[in-house]
Amino acid sequence: MKNILLACGSGIVTSTAVNLKVSKILDDAGYKGKYKITQCKIQEATGKSPSYDFLIATTMKPEGLKCPYVNGICFLTGMNTQPTIDEIFKLMEE
């Protein structure tokens, strides 16, 4: 089970949009039931990061982060998503 942290400035608006996209991508790739996504405000991300496998964020990488960081902005615009999807799949297999 991978614990994925998903963060944006508000912890609700852009992270919700990214959550829905990422969940669908992971489910379609056969990861259904093998991950848990938690949304939070980016200010909370560093503190929470030791208990998570990786962070997907629509902001810059927060300082002091204790888990790998993935920039999730491409899931909002739909542009050039494949490299980021590959990055996430790699983290799912680690």
């Binding site: 508000s10 919700t16 902005i73």
Partner: protein, 172 residues
């Protein structure tokens, strides 16, 4: 008991989320023809929200601070779109405002890398966390549709742009 509550809540959300005609009002649609500053545009849109009791007085300052720290400029297939918003504690009712800029304005890019030349400002007032999943998904999906963006940019009246925007959300 818990299941029934959840089911009812879900039904209620679905109904709310799909009623886009109540979420986008003609008064919330702007066509900015002149060269304006980002501040002018945001202020005018916030003002409309305030005049219609959609947001609290604290919304404007919170929105500016947010935009400064966590900018919302995004490049959707070559069209710059900003989606300024802030925490739901400053919001009384869920609405979406839309401003079409005839003269583009630079916004900082989301994620903090450079600037985006923005043609459309989509201002979000989200009142209740967790109830608008579908709305946000439909918005982001819709904005990725080039034809929908073209309809928004070429709209000649508030009514036309509102209709195109609702059609975009319903189609997504």
């Amino acid at each position: 008991m818990e299941f029934t509550t959840l089911y009812k809540e879900r039904k209620r959300c679905e109904m709310n989320d799909f009623d886009y005609k109540n979420i986008v009002d003609e008064w919330g649609v702007f066509i900015f023809k002149d060269t304006l500053s980002k501040e002018d545009v945001l202020h005018e849109m916030v003002n409309a929200f305030q005049n219609h009791n959609i947001v609290k007085e604290t919304f404007e300052k919170a929105l500016y601070t947010r935009e400064e720290v966590f900018p919302t400029g995004l490049d959707f297939n070559g069209t710059g779109i900003a989606i300024p918003h802030t925490d739901s504690e400053h919001v009384l009712e869920t609405k979406i405002g839309i401003g079409v800029l005839k003269e583009p304005i630079n916004f900082k890019a989301m994620g903090g890398e450079g600037e985006v030349s923005v043609r459309i400002v989509v201002m979000l007032a989200i009142a209740d966390k967790g109830q608008h999943m579908t709305l946000l998904k439909d918005l982001m999906t819709g904005l990725q549709d080039l034809d929908c963006i073209e309809d928004l940019l070429s709209g000649n009246s508030q009514e036309e742009i509102r209709d195109s925007f609702i059609a975009m959300l319903e189609k997504a």
